[in-house]
Symmetry: C2
């Protein structure tokens, strides 16, 4: 049964390793973070510290919300704010040994899930695309 | 077999109907479109004309790329540009009668797929979340 196969497959087998994941540093100013997001085209990316310990997630929405002023978008506010002040730290993570079946539950509500080991070290991300590709594959196996 | 069940289920059964979908008009200026995207929190939404005929997709990325100037983000350019000049018209669509199995293939590469009838009328969107929820359900049936 497909469920049993996916219960045995681990998240580490489907995830993008951290060296392939665009990220920002927790101490970066928001104008830099927005430039990274616009140039790479990603709507949101992980935030880490200098030891590559996972901190949270930052998105274009979170940054642009800071610019909503009386005069519409006030982007000069961004150089004075840091990623740490705006990022979302309340996000689920997965262990690299978690099953793909557990991963499926989590990506229902999140475009990607950060994969972290027991020490909080950032190992990679499990994306909806990788999950959907695998499930599509299962349909024809 | 799960594949047969999903081959018989239609996209219209899983899609969000157009009256529940945030969208912008093809003639809107880009500053208005960006405000809609920031306030609703969506990274991209469908574009329609005044007769609700599907035109394409617009995203925060596409709009912000227009503001990348010498002086970093130049947002005052946005009121002078229209959604039509920046939107992506090269996007796949699905018929409401297409199978969920066909829909699965398409959402592998797109966070959502617009559903249009034979006349190009915008019926709704099929999202990855709806697809993943259904596939998760199938795992336990
Ligand atoms: N440069 C690119 N090349 C090819 N396809 C692209 C692309 N940028 C976006 N896409 C497509 O658009 C989807 C949504 O991207 P988004 O940036 O909103 O949302 C992304 C982004 O927030 C994050 N992500 C994906 N890959 C990443 C990476 N290498 N570094 C950092 N974040 C990543 O995970 C979310 C889900 O990614 P997923 O692959 O499932 O889904 C992606 C992928 O199907
Ligand atoms: N206001 C909200 N409430 C609850 N969850 C939210 C949310 N905004 C975003 N999310 C979550 O984040 C995912 C990615 O949203 P995004 O805006 O990048 O990408 C969205 C957006 O571009 C579009 N979309 C979804 N619902 C929409 C709607 N009602 N109107 C217009 N576009 C929509 O389809 C993409 C995929 O949506 P999906 O539901 O699979 O996946 C959504 C959903 O899981």
């Amino acid at each position: 049964l497909q469920r049993e196969k996916l219960a045995k497959m681990t998240v580490s087998e489907l995830m993008f390793p951290s060296d392939k994941v665009v990220h920002v540093q927790v101490g970066n100013p928001l104008d830099h973070a927005l430039l990274v997001l616009v140039k790479t085209g990603y709507s949101s990316v992980p935030v880490v510290d200098t030891s590559n310990i996972f901190q949270g997630i930052i998105s274009k929405s979170m940054i642009l919300e800071e610019t909503l002023g009386v005069e519409q978008f006030e982007l000069d506010r961004l150089s004075a704010l840091q990623v740490s002040e705006v990022m979302n730290t309340n996000v689920p993570c997965l262990s690299p040994d978690a099953s793909v079946l557990d991963g499926l539950k989590k990506v229902i509500d999140h475009p990607f899930i950060c994969v972290t080991d027991k020490t909080g070290y950032f190992d990679g991300i499990l994306t909806r695309r990788a999950m959907l590709k695998q499930l599509n594959k299962e349909m024809y196996t």
